[in-house]
């Protein structure tokens, strides 16, 4: 009896100690998206961080990327903002303008800040105060992949670098030839399979507009009417509509790997840097990496990716910053990123990513970043801009009237900006 009582006392005392300990621990919430491999990697980073900082608990909150903004809005409304959040670079202006993110420079290790590439700094910077609000290990780009066998069969010229990119005439000529080639079911996969809600459309097809000489919105007056519905844009999207009409493009309902799937039904791929690893693994030496074609006076390529910010709601911004620094330096995290052919956003990571260094298979992507990369409009109206443009492209790819669709989208964008009084202080930026 006495012994039992003693046991109970010891047990409850121990429990009390554990609980007191648990209360003393700081909890850092980290909201993120990502494919299953990345989710595992984040989980492992969190475990290592906890091991290195026994008084901190990292709580990971996963939200799939195609509903990420919806989930984030829900968190804002219920006042449950995480401490650290992954965010898609073009949405940064909207988040900072709305007051969700805090300047990250004082919170991150200095050696990381010094290590950032130009494009990485650009994607994390808010244009109004020119301050840095987010940082990432990676950036991104889109290149034109080709199947060597098919390209040789039609005698296509293979560009050596960005300055050497295919012109529109060359590109469309090859598409026509490829469409008649044995074994080619579709000349090109533009990854329509990502759907009409995943940002891919604005990210990947937006530069085609810029290459053709127009834009989603005028970046000085912040007006879309007169820009998105201008002749060069109408011409560029009419061109893409024609590819679809000719049956040159992999349809949306055929998934996202027709380029490197069994039998290689698609000859070219207008694809993100992230498919390289998987495609190269199945295609070996048959894969050719080329710069995006020039559709008009100049070349253009996309950039920007998912990066890490610290919210204004964080009660422990210093620890949140410590976590972000820890993650960006974490060796296993970098190893996984390299295996996944991640596009370097830190110089030290670029140095040990042979894929992107001079002479590496993806060197052309890195070259694009310095020569042709154009960020998506850094404006708080971006959610409205991208939503309107995605709708218009879907309409156009399915045979809708190009001019009408673009006019409607441009009007919708301007309407949103007007409704928000020009998103001050952006209205004074002209």
């Amino acid at each position: 009896m006495g012994k039992r009582l003693l046991q109970a006392l010891v047990a409850s005392a121990a429990l009390g100690v554990v609980m007191a300990h648990a209360e003393a621990r700081t909890v850092i919430q980290v909201m993120h998206q990502g494919d299953p491999g990345w989710v595992t990697t984040y989980g492992d980073v969190a475990k290592r961080f906890e091991a290195a900082n026994p008084d901190v608990d990292v709580e990971l909150i996963y939200a799939p990327h195609d509903a990420y903004n919806e989930k984030f809005s829900a968190a804002v409304m219920s006042k449950q903002l995480p401490d650290v959040m992954e965010l898609d670079a073009p949405f940064l202006a909207n988040y900072v303008w709305s007051g969700y993110l805090q300047p990250i420079k004082p919170l991150i290790d200095k050696d990381i800040l010094d290590d950032m590439t130009e494009s990485n700094i650009a994607q994390g910077t808010y244009p109004i105060d020119k301050d840095l609000y987010a940082v990432g290990l990676t950036d991104s780009s889109v290149v034109l992949y080709g199947n060597r066998k098919y390209l040789e069969a039609i005698g296509a010229r293979i560009p050596k670098g960005v300055d050497d990119a295919w012109t529109r005439e060359e590109f469309e000529g090859y598409l026509g030839k490829l469409s008649k080639l044995e074994g080619v079911k579709w000349p090109i996969d533009t990854f329509r399979g990502y759907g009409i809600k995943t940002e891919w459309i604005t990210y990947a097809y937006g530069p085609i507009l810029q290459s053709a000489g127009c834009d989603l919105i005028d970046r000085k007056t912040w007006k879309s009417v007169g820009t998105l519905d201008s002749d060069p844009c109408v011409e560029a999207l009419t061109m893409m509509q024609t590819w679809v009409k000719n049956g040159w493009v992999v349809p949306q309902s055929s998934g996202t790997n027709q380029f490197f799937a069994e039998g290689h039904p698609a000859a070219l791929a207008f694809g993100g840097h992230w498919i390289y690893a998987e495609a190269a693994a199945t295609m070996k030496d048959d894969i050719v990496v080329m710069p995006l074609p020039k559709f008009g006076p100049k070349g253009a390529s996309p950039n920007g990716t998912w990066i890490w910010g610290i919210t204004t709601a964080s009660e422990h911004p210093d620890i949140a910053g410590k976590f972000v620094s820890f993650m960006l330096k974490d060796k296993q995290y970098r190893d996984y990123a390299r295996e996944d052919s991640a596009y370097p956003g830190l110089k030290s990571f670029a140095a040990d990513s042979p894929l992107y260094s001079a002479g590496g298979p993806m060197a052309v992507a890195f070259e694009q970043a310095s020569k042709t990369a154009i960020a998506r409009p850094p404006h708080p109206a971006y959610p409205a801009i991208t939503s309107a443009f995605m709708g218009a492209v879907d309409e156009i790819f399915n045979g809708g009237d190009v001019k009408a669709a673009l006019t409607a989208a441009a009007e919708k964008i301007d309407e949103d900006i007007e409704e928000n009084d020009g998103y001050p202080p952006f209205d004074e930026q002209q």
């Binding site: 903004n69 919806e70 809005s73 804002v76 409304m77 303008w97 709305s98 007051g99 759907g195 009409i196 809600k197 349809p251 949306q252 309902s253 055929s254 998934g255 959610p383 409205a384 939503s387 709708g391 879907d394 309409e395 790819f397 399915n398 045979g399 809708g400 409607a408 949103d416 409704e419 928000n420 009084d421 998103y423 001050p424």
Partner: protein, 312 residues
């Protein structure tokens, strides 16, 4: 069907009874209170709030710009938006197709499963399975079946027609996308209507069938003159429920087509979620919800009126 209350002699309801009545009144209010309070908080207040929000430029999440009362601007903007009318047209199309397919399927299986088959309950359970499967899961599975050009459905069609039917881009072709969604929606949801019909069939007294048999009615005549009239209230219920459900079409579209291709599967609810969550215009989305409410209300009232005329 009205319950006849036995009339009490007037003298019996004298003074002492009134006090008892008041006591009962408090009791009744007390019993009603929990439900009334909950319904008010979770149904009536949000409903009135959405009316109010619909007349402001309320954003989804707080913004540095002020929230203003803007009257009927939101409503006017919706009524001017072609996409809204497209979505309304699409939902009407969906409803028009899904009601015969879904209710017909439900009615046919209910008739079948009402027979004295061996293992009847096992079959009933099997036919009900899709209805208890999550719609999202059903959509993902059907999404694979619909794949173009090498999905199972296209392969089966190609095999059966010896290659004469070309593969159909079920979800990617604006002419087919809504029809594909009708197919999978009807398949997923008919179990519920089937159960309602089964209950209706069981509610028809056997004596009526016996009497009909004695009168020399054949199977079809028994069906037409006994089963059908006996099921009239069931038909009404099923029709109203299915119509209202059909007007709320959302999940299938959100998972499979996101309103595309070419807005051919855009629905009113999807339009509302898009304006509210993607474009973060809560005021505008509330206005859509108010309009949807009015439409559903009108349809429900019309249906009641029409069917009352047929003496149901």
């Amino acid at each position: 069907m009205t319950l006849q209350q036995p009339a009490l002699p007037a003298t019996a309801v004298a003074r002492p009874a009134r006090r008892r009545d008041r006591g009962r009144l408090f009791q009744e209010i007390g019993m009603l209170a929990p439900a009334v309070v909950l319904l008010t908080i979770f149904l009536v207040v949000p409903f009135l709030l959405s009316f109010w929000t619909a007349m402001t430029n309320q954003p989804l999440v707080p913004r540095p710009t002020p929230v203003r009362f803007i009257g009927l601007t939101n409503f006017l903007r919706i009524l001017k938006d072609d996409l809204f009318w497209t979505s309304l047209w699409n939902v009407s199309r969906f409803t028009f197709w899904v009601i015969p397919v879904q209710c017909g399927l439900a009615f046919a299986t209910a008739l079948l499963l009402h027979q004295k088959l061996p293992f009847r309950n096992v079959f009933r359970g099997m036919f009900f399975l899709p209805a208890i499967t999550s719609m999202v899961v059903v959509c993902v599975i059907w999404g694979t079946l619909f794949q173009y050009p090498t999905g199972p459905l296209n392969q089966i069609l190609g095999f059966l027609s010896a290659g004469r039917i070309q593969p159909i881009d079920w979800l990617g072709d604006p002419n087919w996308a809504m029809f594909s969604i009708v197919l999978l929606s009807a398949w997923q949801a008919y179990g519920f209507q089937m159960i309602v019909y089964l209950a209706g069939l069981q509610g028809i007294p056997d004596e009526l069938y016996d009497a009909a048999r004695i009168d020399g009615a054949n199977a079809f005549q028994r069906f037409w003159h006994v089963t059908m009239p006996g099921l009239r209230p069931t038909h009404v219920f099923v029709l109203v429920i299915t119509t209202i459900q059909a007007f709320k079409l959302y999940t299938q579209v959100a998972v499979l087509t996101q309103g595309g291709p070419k807005s051919s599967t855009e629905t009113v609810v999807h339009y509302m979620v898009r304006t509210g969550f993607e474009e973060q215009k809560l005021g505008l989305a509330s206005a859509v919800s108010v309009i949807l409410f009015l439409i559903v209300l009108v349809i429900a009232l019309l249906q009641r009126q029409l069917l009352r005329r047929f003496d149901v």
